[in-house]
């Protein structure tokens, strides 16, 4: 058996045997480097160089910013405002939940973090209006997919680093596709809610709410995406700088405006962000070594050639690629999928003259759907845990939302304009 096959099979074998993804990637790579006498000594250099990259610093900083803004109570105030604004329409609670989650996508770059921040607020709000708890939990988990499509996005940071592209441009490309996915989800959720006969009368509570006061309360939180994205696209900050400014902004709002944070909260927030960041970065580091090994033993070249054979029929190739990515998305997390598949797809992209920025958006939408499809569905697991619903009750409902995601994916795949128009306008390519 060739070393490339050993690498792939060993990884998959360890993965299904409950070995953490990072360790499974690392162990397969180490074994092949040793068996092929390729020099294990590079591992230490690769591990450290794979992490010590300035653009990747945006990952811990955006994670910390999300934790700070969650604890500062920014989400709660935005939920109150949104419910007051759209709570009067039919299925208003569902529409408001998707809208809030889309907004939070412009604050947070991680799906599970968005679920953890919003599900404890949104799910009780929906159940009070008569929604069934598993449905409400799945809705939040599905809408949280948008966190990795709407900028900022940890997935885009990793993708842009692998293809050596611009993170700022990749972020911008995700904006309209995120909006499209959000609208598809909103319409689908409203339809499902109406069919079940929930939430058809305007909520009497929202009639009396003073919208002006809620707007004043939410104002500082509403400015957050402006600080992050305005800073990046005004040409003021790099994405990494924008992330650290977002941390400072969250601390400012929490300590001085809302006065919801105390100094003793800092340790817990820093700890939580450190662990969440390390979970992602462990995979980045070992997947980088795995990808390097795959390239060295010729696996990347072989798979690339196989993919190239199909590239003569681009539409069919795209459809097949989407199916493979959706399948991988059900088994693995987004970061490892990028490292395993992107290096072999780059030559194909060049060959077909496809735009890597659009391609990154399409890939990410696939992997976003993977966040709610069993068996590995990070968003669903978090939603089940924070709302104390048995995960089995979420599986059945999740497929409906995954189907909505696929509808959005088809549009984004075959209409590249949606992903390309904003980067073209701003960067003139």
């Amino acid at each position: 058996m060739s070393l490339g096959a050993v690498l792939l099979l060993l990884f998959l074998g360890l993965l299904v045997a409950r070995v953490p993804v990072a360790a499974a990637l690392g162990a397969a790579a180490l074994w092949v480097l040793w068996a092929g006498r390729l020099g294990l000594g590079v591992v230490s250099y690769n591990f450290q160089a794979g992490i010590a990259k300035f653009p990747l610093l945006a990952i811990p900083f955006f994670i910390l910013a999300g934790v700070v803004m969650d604890r500062a109570g920014i989400a709660e105030r935005i939920v109150r405002l949104t419910v007051a604004l759209v709570g009067r329409v039919r299925a208003g609670a569902a529409v408001a939940s998707v809208a809030v989650t889309m907004f939070w996508g412009a604050v947070s770059g991680s799906g599970p973090a968005t679920v953890a921040a919003l599900a404890p607020i949104l799910v009780p709000m929906m159940t009070r209006r008569g929604y069934d708890k598993p449905f409400a939990s799945v809705l939040v988990a599905a809408a949280a997919e948008l966190s990795i499509i709407i900028p900022p996005s940890i997935a885009f940071i990793v993708y842009a680093t692998i293809v050596s592209g611009s993170i700022a441009e990749q972020f911008l490309a995700g904006f309209l596709p995120g909006l499209v996915m959000g609208l598809v989800l909103m319409a689908g959720a409203a339809w499902m809610v109406s069919r079940r006969g929930w939430d058809q009368e305007p909520d009497p509570d929202t009639q009396r709410v003073p919208v002006g006061r809620l707007l004043r309360e939410a104002f500082w939180g509403l400015l957050t995406p402006l600080v992050i994205l305005g800073g990046i696209y005004g040409g003021v900050f790099t994405p990494t700088e924008a992330a650290v400014v977002a941390v400072a902004w969250g601390l400012f709002v929490g300590f001085f405006v809302y006065r919801t944070l105390r100094v003793r909260d800092l340790l817990g927030m820093l700890y939580e962000a450190s662990v969440s960041s390390a979970v992602v970065m462990a995979i980045v580091a070992w997947a980088g070594i795995f990808a390097w090994t795959a390239d060295t033993v010729g696996l990347v070249r072989d798979l690339s050639r196989a993919a190239m054979a199909l590239a003569g029929r681009p539409y069919l190739f795209l459809a097949l690629l989407n199916l493979v990515l959706l399948f991988l998305g059900t088994l693995m997390d987004a970061v490892s999928i990028y490292f395993v598949t992107v290096p072999m797809l780059i030559p194909v992209l060049h060959h077909l003259g496809w735009d890597p920025v659009w391609f990154g958006v399409m890939m990410t939408v696939n992997l976003a759907i993977g966040q709610i499809t069993p068996p590995v569905a990070v968003n669903l697991f978090v939603a089940a845990r924070v709302n104390q619903v048995p995960i089995e009750q979420l599986w059945r409902q999740a497929w409906l939302f995954a189907a909505l995601g696929v509808a959005g994916l088809v549009v984004i795949t075959y209409v590249p304009w949606i992903s390309q128009v904003l980067p073209r306008l701003l960067y003139g390519r």
Partner: protein, 150 residues
């Protein structure tokens, strides 16, 4: 929260302060602290290893992402062994890393490798890596013991 948790929080706080100071220096005083990039990116390596160690102690099987659908079908004893195996592989991988990171740090000390912007001895950055990688390996072994005891 174990010692690595406090250390991780401290390193992350330091990274935020240095990176934010750099932004301020650049925009308010037009005085970029380009050299700080080196401090922050190397701190990121320590943060990651400390965070990995801390994550291994969260919950029964650690915070790290893994595929459980297949092994969940096993009887409880089989599942425990699978979890212990996962911890064991983690320990082995980081043990190997610790070994080669020690070699790297020793080489850098011997050859007097200097950091690119601050011109510091590079082993100041890479020296802690073998210790931290070993720390991860030890926490993983402890995790294996924990799940086997049930």
């Amino acid at each position: 929260m174990g010692l690595e948790g406090y250390l991780a929080a401290l390193v992350l706080a330091g990274m935020v302060v240095v990176a934010f100071a750099n932004v301020l220096a650049r925009y308010l005083f037009h005085f970029p602290l380009a050299a700080t990039e080196e401090l922050v990116t190397n701190g990121f390596v320590w943060l990651t290893l400390l965070g990995i160690a801390a994550g291994l102690r969260e919950g029964a099987e650690g915070a790290h992402i893994r595929f459980v659908a297949l092994t969940d079908r096993l009887p409880p004893a089989g599942r425990r062994w699978a979890a212990a195996f996962g911890y064991g592989v983690t320990a082995a991988v980081f043990g190997v890393l610790a070994y080669f990171a020690l070699a790297q740090a020793r080489d850098e000390m011997l050859l007097d490798v200097r950091s690119p912007s601050l011109n510091l001895p590079n082993w100041l950055y890479t020296g802690p890596t073998p210790v931290l990688a070993l720390w991860v390996a030890v926490r993983a072994l402890q995790g294996a013991g924990r799940v086997l005891r049930g």
